[in-house]
């Protein structure tokens, strides 16, 4: 067994004993409160108005994602109405940024970086879009231009002892019509991939626009963590 795996297991065991000393959120509401972008961070009237109207709904959405996908984490202050950097205008995208604890894995490591981005988006990006699409009142708001999903995971080979851990990330912006057409299977994978805007990052290095190869992957929708009990008030 790899040394880092042993270390991880040991840390889990020690963490269990540490209990309340760790500053982990206690409730879904506390956790979600950290993940939703606070009102004061919005700098345009459109962004502020969207946040004011939908903040409570975003909170419930964050609680649901946090409680039902326990092996993932949500980036702090990432759920909200973001606009892409460097794009004129003020198009606001319903946004979610998740952190994926990808273990070192021979098959995954052997994939080219662009293929890893495609695999992660197929597995988690589409699932996040589907979860966001279920927030009907937010999606129905004409001031919401579309979906934004950011996925980050540990770059293979960087979780070993003595190596600086680095995240690979993929950020996608999808206009509402394209997203809904794709989720309802009115357009094929290839057309969806062609119509969305995707950027890739290796750590903080901007890899520029990416073209993804997207396929069906129902892992995030179907996988159940063995013996997992959702927090009180959360139904998965």
């Amino acid at each position: 067994m790899a040394r880092w795996v042993v270390g991880a297991l040991l840390a889990v065991a020690l963490g269990a004993g540490a209990g309340p000393a760790l500053a982990a959120p206690q409730t879904p509401a506390e956790a979600a409160g950290e993940k939703v972008i606070p009102l004061e961070r919005y700098t345009t009237p459109k962004g502020q108005a969207l946040a004011r109207v939908h903040q409570q709904r975003l909170q419930r959405y964050a609680e649901q994602v946090w409680g039902c996908l326990p092996w993932l984490d949500l980036q702090k202050q990432s759920i909200g109405f973001q606009r892409p950097k460097g794009v004129p205008g003020d198009d606001r995208y319903f946004s979610t940024w998740i952190l994926i604890p990808q273990a070192e894995n021979k098959q995954f490591s052997a994939l080219p970086q662009s293929r890893r981005m495609s695999a992660m988006f197929s597995r988690y990006g589409v699932d996040m879009m589907r979860r966001m699409a279920d927030v009907h009142d937010v999606l129905a708001d004409s001031n919401v231009h579309g979906f934004s999903v950011v996925l980050s995971w540990l770059k293979p080979g960087t979780s070993r002892p003595g190596v600086q851990p680095v995240n690979e990330s993929v950020a996608a912006f999808i206009d509402k019509a394209t997203g809904l057409d794709y989720l309802e299977r009115r357009i094929p994978h290839a057309e969806f991939a062609r119509r969305i805007r995707v950027m890739g990052f290796d750590g903080q290095t901007d890899l520029g626009p990416q073209t993804l190869d997207i396929w069906d992957d129902d892992f995030a929708a179907t996988f159940k963590l063995p013996n997992y009990e959702p927090p009180a008030g959360i139904s998965c």
Partner: protein, 87 residues
């Protein structure tokens, strides 16, 4: 080392060189087929801890929050939000 051994070693090195830099179709198929490699080590850790005495078979979100990934995310170099978004 005999000629046969040298030949075998060369074949092994050759295969590694060809397949080392990219995924073979078999590897790709295997990755797609084995969906639970995500966080599998954490799952194993929780499972071991909770089932040890048989009294607490449940895993909670708080267990996950206490996992070592907190440290991973804390130290890891990640794209900054302002590289992607404007507020």
């Amino acid at each position: 080392m005999t000629r046969t051994q040298i030949f075998r070693a060369a074949v092994v090195l050759g295969v590694l060189a060809v397949t080392g830099g990219c995924a073979t179709s078999e590897e790709w198929a295997e990755w797609k087929a084995h969906s639970t490699h995500f966080a599998s080590d954490q799952h194993m850790g929780f499972s071991m801890r909770n089932n040890k005495d048989g009294s607490n078979p449940k895993v909670t979100r708080r267990d996950m929050e206490s996992s070592p990934r907190e440290n991973w995310w804390g130290k890891v170099i990640t794209v900054r939000p302002d590289q992607i978004f404007e507020n």
